[in-house]
């Protein structure tokens, strides 16, 4: 067995947050006190459960984790620097590659930031289409996540395959609308690129109507499964105060019992017109994170139903809005929306030229990873894998 030197690996570092009892109980690490042999294992970057090229530098006492450092950047291509060298419109397709499961919401977040920066209004019909696509994207993301999470729990692919069957249907919709399954490049400043046809809307309606039945089936198989509950309940508890302080957003924050949903808080787009609820958890453990997403999908179905029914006519793009050669006045804007993984925001600084001087992506996966170590300490390797799975990261977004 390998014995890491505690001084060199920084094991003795105890992290604490000032001012309040926010800090999780970080086991004070004392290598000389009967802790047994320590084993330093590098989980990743080539590991089946790290959801991409991601590494966890883990120090184990038996199977108990006494230190865990996330290491990433393997997919780093300096997305933000690319944004500085590209026109405002030119960055739109790049945003697809951030969270490559949810290009629709990435597009929307970027569009909102630019619209704020340049003061562009969005047409009514486009707002509805955006909501429809964003909620489809949310369904897609949460379904996939549930499948991946179950895979991390050790299911032999069955839930994942069920999830992917539904994902394919949504991807087919995206493809028939935007021409691409995953890299949609769909939103524009002040609206969107293609007007959905009546057939597309009918197909979407069919999918939305059938999705509840899929969720019922999925939940009947998994949510009450004894082993799933035993594996996920009480694992990776995240207290609400720490979650807020650590900038955790999205379903993960809500699982900890904080009813914070930007669709309600910011009320962007036309979300205030829809009637939906925000499910929140109590324990903040992996099971809550899973269940909050399952319940959120039900609300998404309701939103989709309302949006499809209330979809107004009219143009999808303000004819006065400018796409190419957009030169916003010097200034800055931070725009954010509630992406499926949490708050996705874009911070843009313009100096009056055609390219932004600063193009910053606030990626939810990246910020949510901050507390990975706190969640995993004291748990076993098997738990670390599902805790990571329940955080829901996409490395395209973490590494940028």
């Amino acid at each position: 067995m390998m014995l890491p030197d505690p001084a060199s690996t920084g094991l003795a570092r105890v992290r604490k947050i000032e001012g309040s009892a926010l800090g999780l109980r970080t086991p004070a690490f004392a290598p000389e006190e009967g802790a047994g042999d320590l084993l330093e294992v590098s989980l990743g970057p080539h590991h089946p459960s790290t959801h991409g090229v991601f590494r966890m530098d883990v120090v184990l006492d038996g199977e108990r984790i006494v230190r865990l450092k996330p290491v990433f950047g393997y997919l780093h291509r300096n997305h933000e620097k690319l944004g500085e060298g590209t026109s405002y419109l030119g960055s739109m397709p790049y945003t697809d590659r951030l969270d490559y499961l949810n290009s629709m919401t990435n597009n929307w977040a970027y569009a909102i930031a630019v619209e704020k920066l340049a003061g562009i209004a969005v047409t009514e019909r486009a707002e509805y289409i955006r909501v429809i696509l964003a909620e489809l994207s949310r369904l897609l993301n949460h379904t996939c996540l549930a499948g991946f999470l179950m895979q991390d729990c050790g299911c032999s692919g069955t839930p994942l395959m069920y999830a992917f069957r539904e994902r394919e249907k949504i991807l087919d919709l995206f493809e028939s609308l935007s021409g691409s399954r995953m890299m949609c490049n769909f939103q524009r400043f002040g609206g969107c690129r293609v007007d959905p046809s009546a057939e597309w809307l009918a197909a979407t309606r069919k999918l939305v109507d059938g999705y509840g039945a899929f969720l019922d089936e999925f939940e009947a198989l998994l949510s009450g499964n004894e082993i799933v509950m035993a594996r996920t309940q009480g694992v990776g508890r995240l207290p609400a105060a720490l979650a807020v302080n650590a900038g955790v957003t999205g379903p993960m924050l809500r699982a900890s019992g904080v009813g914070h949903d930007l669709r309600k808080v910011d009320g962007y787009g036309v979300y205030p017109r829809f009637n939906f609820r925000v499910p929140i958890g109590r324990e903040g453990d992996v099971y809550d994170r899973y269940m909050v997403r399952m319940l959120e999908m039900r609300e998404s179905i309701s939103i989709l139903d309302q949006a499809l029914r209330g979809l107004p006519g009219g143009p999808i793009l303000d004819p006065k809005s400018k796409q190419r050669g957009l030169r916003p006045k010097a200034g800055e804007a931070y725009g954010r929306i509630e992406g499926p993984k949490g708050e996705i925001g874009f911070f843009l600084v313009s100096d009056g030229t055609g390219n932004p001087t600063r193009y910053r992506v606030r990626a939810p996966s990246f910020v949510n990873l901050t507390i990975l170590e706190d969640l995993c300490l004291g748990h076993s390797v098997a738990d670390a894998v599902i805790i990571l799975g329940s955080i829901d990261i996409v490395l395209g977004e973490v590494d940028r």
């Binding site: 920084g10 570092r13 992290r15 947050i17 000032e18 001012g19 926010l22 990433f72 950047g73 780093h76 300096n78 933000e80 620097k81 704020k116 920066l117 340049a118 003061g119 720490l242 807020v244 302080n245 650590a246 900038g247 955790v248 957003t249 924050l253 904080v258 914070h260 808080v265 916003p328 006045k329 010097a330 200034g331 800055e332 804007a333 931070y334 725009g335 954010r336 708050e343 925001g345 911070f347 600084v349 313009s350 600063r358 910053r360 606030r362 990246f366 910020v367 990873l369 901050t370 507390i371 590494d399 940028r400």
Partner: protein, 220 residues
């Protein structure tokens, strides 16, 4: 939430001696920000977090911003006494001057409890070379931990009091800060130069010290 001006006044009253400046925003977004003296940054941040009316409990976004040194061309008017009795002769002379650059860190604060925001804080380093330290806000908001590491990695701002300031996206042996405006990207992305014609020539240009045959490892 109170208006930015009112907040500025309140902060100034609470922290006398702090230089606090309201930075206007030319864009329609209207998101104004506060530029704060780094010496007071952490105190102000903690006040903003703990003040019951503001309760800015979430630091959503941490961003670096690079303003390189730039040449400023100024027109200097010099008046010399002209002919006696007559008006002084004004000569205009163009003078170029190097305005020192700086690195800036921007924090976007929101309140989850009271559902308002953003309140934007900015702090500047002294310059871009040796005085690049700023106080870390990670002790105030955990969400700054990785984001400040990223700013350190990509911009080179050193955060005092950060618990674990290491590179986060680039590898540990990397030198330089790629998000700075004056960063020049390498000609060759191969870590070990391949000894083949053009690539070798490129590598020589890029790693002059290692170009000598037999050099084990290029050290950029």
């Amino acid at each position: 939430m109170e208006s930015p001006e009112a907040l500025r006044d309140r902060l100034l009253a609470r922290f006398p001696g702090a230089s606090l400046e309201l930075v206007a925003n030319g864009s329609p977004s209207g998101q104004v920000s506060f530029r704060i003296d780094p010496a007071f940054l952490r105190e102000v941040a903690r006040f903003l977090r703990d003040d019951p009316e503001l309760a800015l409990d979430q630091c959503s976004n941490v961003t670096g911003l690079d303003s390189p040194d730039r040449e400023v061309v100024e027109t200097v008017k010099e008046s010399q006494p002209g002919a006696p009795g007559g008006p002084p002769v004004v000569t205009e002379r163009k003078q170029t001057r190097i305005a020192p650059g700086h690195l800036e860190v921007i924090y976007h604060l929101y309140s989850v409890a009271r559902r308002h925001g953003p309140v934007i804080l900015r702090a500047r380093t002294g310059n871009r070379t040796d005085a690049v330290s700023l106080p870390s806000l990670t002790p105030v908001w955990r969400s700054c931990e990785f984001q400040e590491r990223e700013v350190f990695d990509l911009y080179g701002v050193v955060f005092e009091g950060h618990p674990d300031l290491r590179r986060i996206l680039m590898w540990d042996a990397f030198t330089g800060h790629p998000m700075r405006k004056d960063y020049v990207e390498p000609d060759d992305y191969e870590w070990e130069p391949t000894p083949h014609g053009d690539v070798l020539a490129k590598a020589r240009r890029h790693y002059p010290s290692a170009a000598a045959p037999g050099a084990a490892q290029p050290s950029p």
